[in-house]
């Protein structure tokens, strides 16, 4: 036993054998709802956004290191997996920021009624998906325009 609270989780079944009682709240007894999904997603996107920021630091470090290192970083950001990761990072940043804005709103005591939360959740989801898609498309578009301009319009 590493945590004294574990002592409170010891329970016994009807046949007398010992069992570990579940902690509360336990996810498995709740039906997944939009508010619950948005709350969990806020946390997950915070972690993913941090992982993306770590990769961005890697990009900066490569730029600072040498032209050869930066060329390798460009190869990664230009590859399909790299683009998928970039899109995921953008989505996570947008998601976490919109979730954070809703938290600011709640901190002022507003939009806390069940109906408001459900309605705002749907709106937030729409705003997140549209903004992330727009940003990702714009990044890909600018990148493509640059590539075309560099080759003088010849593919």
């Amino acid at each position: 036993m590493q945590d004294v609270r574990e002592a409170f989780y010891v329970g016994s079944r009807s046949d007398g054998t010992l069992t570990r009682r579940p902690m509360s709240p336990h996810l498995q007894v709740y039906k997944m709802r939009l508010s619950m999904f948005m709350s969990i997603a806020s946390r997950v996107t915070g972690v993913v956004a941090t992982a993306g920021a770590a990769l961005a630091v890697g990009w900066l470090a490569a730029l600072a290191w040498s032209p050869a290192a930066f060329a390798r970083a460009r190869k990664v950001t230009g590859s399909v997996p790299g683009q998928v990761i970039l899109a995921g990072w953008i989505l996570s940043l947008v998601w976490h920021m919109v979730g954070g804005l809703r938290h600011f709103l709640w901190d002022t005591g507003h939009r806390y009624q069940r109906r408001a939360i459900n309605r705002d959740g749907r709106i937030a989801l729409g705003v997140i998906l549209l903004t992330a898609a727009g940003l990702t498309g714009a990044v890909a578009g600018v990148s493509r325009m640059r590539a075309v301009a560099r080759t003088g319009g010849v593919r």
């Binding site: 004294v4 972690v47 920021a53 920021m97 600011f104």
Partner: protein, 124 residues
């Protein structure tokens, strides 16, 4: 209360709450700025990337962004660790999160300074 908060966070709740919100508020304009920079930099080659990131104003904004980002991330990750990591693993995990985020921030800050130096050498 006395026994429920044995892990040392008894008096730091409010400060943490304010710190996460203050850094979140600061990150709104900083990340907005970053989104614009990301658009301008997408597909940039080495010279373009050094020229743009190395400008004094940009370097200063980047450093603010990096510091605030990893400060905010550190606070958030500690909350997650507090929720899911108990017992003997808790302290090492807390230290690892702090060291990891500090290391990332430091790497980012040093890189920005170096890029700013590279740009000065390239343009002079």
């Amino acid at each position: 209360m006395g026994s429920s908060s044995s892990a040392g966070d008894r008096h730091s709740g409010t400060g943490h709450w304010i710190a996460e919100r203050a850094s979140a508020a600061a990150l709104l304009p900083l990340t907005g700025w970053f989104a614009v920079q990301m658009l301008r930099l997408s597909g940039a080659d080495y010279d373009e990337a050094v020229e743009q990131n190395g400008r004094p104003g940009h370097a200063a904004m980047l450093m603010l962004l990096i510091g605030t980002t990893f400060y905010h991330a550190e606070g958030g990750l500690q909350v997650i660790a507090d929720d899911y990591v108990h017992g003997a693993a808790r302290k090492p995990v807390r230290i690892a999160i702090r060291a990891g985020m500090a290391g990332l921030a430091l790497t980012g800050l040093v890189s920005v300074l170096r890029v700013a130096g590279l740009r000065r050498r390239l343009t002079s």
